[in-house]
């Protein structure tokens, strides 16, 4: 199901045309209200390492979307997901005209907390015993980044 809607986030960029083609693809999808569930691919060897996207909880009437991602375990700890998340957040604010990008994770997922924080997201709270996952009730942490924060943090030029 995920693969069907996938389009590759990064391919080994051989030329400026490759980058333009990606952006056009992404923009076409966004114009349809579809943020994919992009595949994340390593530039250096083309390895497919995970997915990252804004396709959960897209609410255009509120200019908001929810970030989700999955990273293959063997690629953890290399800063790959923060890089992908920052890119997707950038797309959300610069191309998709969002005001808010949010994410939710179970409290035990401290790796996700670090990814969120490295991507400039703020923790907004903890919903206690909110979701029943794999046999027990889990606390859910809320994170978000707002347009005004993204713009303020963006390096000029």
């Amino acid at each position: 199901m995920v693969l069907r809607s996938m389009s590759v986030l990064w391919e080994t960029h051989r030329s400026v045309e490759d980058s333009e083609r990606f952006l056009r693809l992404a923009e076409d999808g966004y114009a349809r209200g579809d943020f994919g569930g992009w595949g994340v691919v390593l530039k250096e060897d083309g390895a497919f390492v995970g997915t990252c996207g804004l396709d959960a909880g897209y609410a255009p009437e509120h200019a908001r979307a929810e970030l989700g991602y999955v990273l293959s375990r063997e690629y953890w700890g290399k800063g790959l997901m923060p890089e992908a998340v920052r890119t997707v957040i950038c797309f959300g604010f610069e191309r998709a005209e969002l005001n808010r990008v949010e994410a939710r994770y179970i409290v035990e997922n401290t790796a996700s907390a670090r990814v969120m924080e490295k991507a400039g997201m703020t923790c907004e709270g903890t919903l206690r015993e909110r979701e029943f996952i794999k046999g027990s009730y889990r606390d859910i942490k809320l994170y978000s980044i707002l347009r005004r924060e993204f713009i303020a943090r963006r390096p000029q030029g």
């Binding site: 509120h62 206690r128 029943f132 009730y137």
Partner: protein, 184 residues
């Protein structure tokens, strides 16, 4: 067909909305103050909308998706508002929502109805968690949640665009174990 529950408090009855309530629903929910502080109430509240909404309640109750009550004054039988809970079977949770018509504000009716809904949710429905949200600018609703013994859990900043302005979504939550230890 599942029997629709009827609940009672000292001053109020919580019961199913019959079609007879349509004009009063339209009048009360049509107020700017009510529509401004909720997400789904249309504004202006036109003819036909109340019928359509009331007709949707029984099927979604039967499907276990939500339970919604008319809030009625016991003594005189007047409809004064609405209270309900959206239900999630997987998470065994209920999301509490309510509005009380402007002419009936300031008398503690909302808290009284909500207390009974919370009891119903934990005692009868066996929920694990009941939570509620309010717009950042709707502090009165937050005070009701506090009086119910709910804990502030977080704020989704600029979560909604309501009539052109961003509103935070503030969330409060209450667990069954907390409620049993200290029923409000």
């Amino acid at each position: 067909m599942k029997p629709y529950p009827t609940l009672q408090t000292e001053r109020l009855i919580l019961r199913e909305f019959p079609l007879e309530d349509v004009p009063e629903v339209q009048r009360l929910a049509g107020a700017y103050e009510i529509a401004r502080m909720t997400l789904l109430i249309p504004h202006p509240y036109e003819d036909g909308m109340a019928e359509e909404w009331i007709a949707s309640l029984r099927p979604s109750y039967e499907a276990g998706e939500q339970v919604t009550f008319a809030v009625v004054l016991r003594e005189v039988g007047d409809l004064i508002g609405c209270i309900g809970m959206g239900l999630n079977a997987r998470d065994n949770s209920g999301e509490l929502g309510y509005w009380i018509g402007v002419p009936y504000w300031g008398r503690g009716y909302c808290t009284e109805a909500a207390r009974e809904m919370v009891r119903y949710g934990f005692e009868v429905l066996g929920l694990h968690r009941i939570y509620a949200n309010h717009f950042g600018s709707n502090l009165a609703s937050g005070r009701v949640m506090q009086k119910l013994g709910m804990s502030y859990e977080g704020t989704r900043r600029e979560h909604y665009k309501k009539w052109g302005e961003y509103e935070d979504q503030v969330e409060y939550g209450l667990l069954a174990s907390e409620w049993r230890a200290a029923p409000v």
